[in-house]
Symmetry: C2
Subunit: 265 residues, 2 copies
């Protein structure tokens, strides 16, 4: 399997602390030695780094850890390969353009090969050989087919994504993170937990490395930052598990799902 | 304007030496302070770095200079903005997927705004606001429209690209580099020069930095490496200017254009 890490914030925030913990699982405290990747949104642009080497050995991972890149939305992944060899093109997050937005996607889980026969790719093709990239290409093609243009109200798109994620769940474990630049969309079929940090900020201690941060010194009172990960990354903080089958949408660090629910009522 | 740098090789080769020269032009010996980017192919995968900061000030650019990334095909660009603000999404090279390949594109020049009205985008949309990304989206959409699948013989695709580049030339200066992973396709309307290094290897001295490399010590006898750039990067080497309106295709470090010409005769 793999591990996912996502971030949504209301001010540009670096993810160094959480990334330090995740990196340790990439061949250190965890077995995910088959590459890693991370996508940082900056406006509509996305800065992505991919490396098929274990994250603990990766020079680029060390650069990211040491030179904070600030962002409102981040998606990261460390890989333990099951389907598809260890190579650059099989490294998450995968990125495709839809509506003039760069969508990025990372997946934790494994899907039944039946999906290759049963799901039809419309617009996007995988470059690599993972079930994950196939699922992403299908999902994004479904969105594009139903919504050739970005609608003003994004809620029916979120509903469609939820419905298609439910179909993908029929093929196996499908925990995923998805973004188009402003929203962080998370879907869970087995393991994902999230945590929102806001005032009053306290201390947090990484589980995977001997590292403590006191967020009082790193933040202002108006900052809101949500972190979502396969497994909680810190002690001393109240992580909330995402329910199985739940789609959660964060915007500006806040759980925005209620907006869609509210609009549907 | 901007500067382009491309590489095609028959063995994985680092581009540190040429990149060192190019970087100096990004705010040092040249005025191209508005960002830079580079795409390294590794099999079908592509590792891309983009930074809207001047390359001489960029930590990532220094990382690339110091930690050689070996590749068969590289496309790089340093930007001096004319159309589109200085931001991440306006930073070349731009990347889109077609046929399950990651196509990357960088452009030097400026195009008349008439192109926005006269050319119809079919499949791909710009994320940013440059004329360059618009031209790339149009060009790739034209390829996709004519060739929904990758043909076994790529030569009619090359002919189509050449014809569409000629149309783009009608809008202004259009020097570009394009790749799908194995081919390095270059089109010139004003300035591009290339150089093939092969045995017997000699010494080269950068124009933009006090740096000399003796390629004898860096290579084996079977290595063939072609470098293409807006302006020659070295003294002491026989750079060949690309003719205006010429499309040149390199594969494995060798000028492969004759193959297409030969097939057309």
């Amino acid at each position: 399997m793999c591990e996912l890490l996502g971030m949504s914030a209301n001010v540009p925030t670096d993810i160094c602390f959480s990334f330090s913990g995740l990196m340790q699982r990439g061949g250190g405290t965890g077995p995910h030695r088959d590459g890693w990747g991370i996508a940082f949104y900056d406006g509509k642009g996305v800065r992505a780094f991919h490396d098929p080497k274990p994250s603990i050995d990766s020079e680029i991972a060390h650069l990211i850890k040491e030179h904070p890149i600030k962002s409102l939305v981040v998606i990261s992944h460390i890989r333990q390969a099951n389907v598809g060899s260890v190579c650059l093109e099989n490294t998450h997050p995968f990125i495709r353009e839809l509506w003039g937005y760069s969508w990025s996607f990372a997946h934790n889980g494994q899907l039944d090969p039946r999906l290759y026969d049963e799901l039809t790719l419309r617009f996007y093709r995988p470059v690599g050989t993972t079930d994950s990239e196939f699922a992403f290409c299908w999902l994004l093609g479904e969105i594009r087919d139903a919504f050739p243009e970005r609608p003003d109200d994004i809620s029916p798109v979120i509903d469609l994504i939820h419905e298609r994620c439910e179909r993908l769940r029929g093929y196996g474990v499908f925990n995923m993170l998805l973004s188009e630049s402003s929203l962080l969309i998370a879907y869970c079929t087995s393991k994902l937990s999230w945590l929102t940090r806001r005032t009053p900020f306290g201390q947090a201690r990484l589980m995977d490395e001997d590292m403590i941060v006191d967020f009082c010194h790193e933040t202002t009172d108006s900052d809101i930052v949500t972190v979502i990960a396969t497994e909680p990354l810190t002690h001393d903080e109240p992580w909330t598990p995402v329910k199985k089958g739940q789609l959660t949408v964060f915007k500006g660090g806040i759980d925005a799902e209620y907006r869609y629910s509210a609009q549907q009522e």
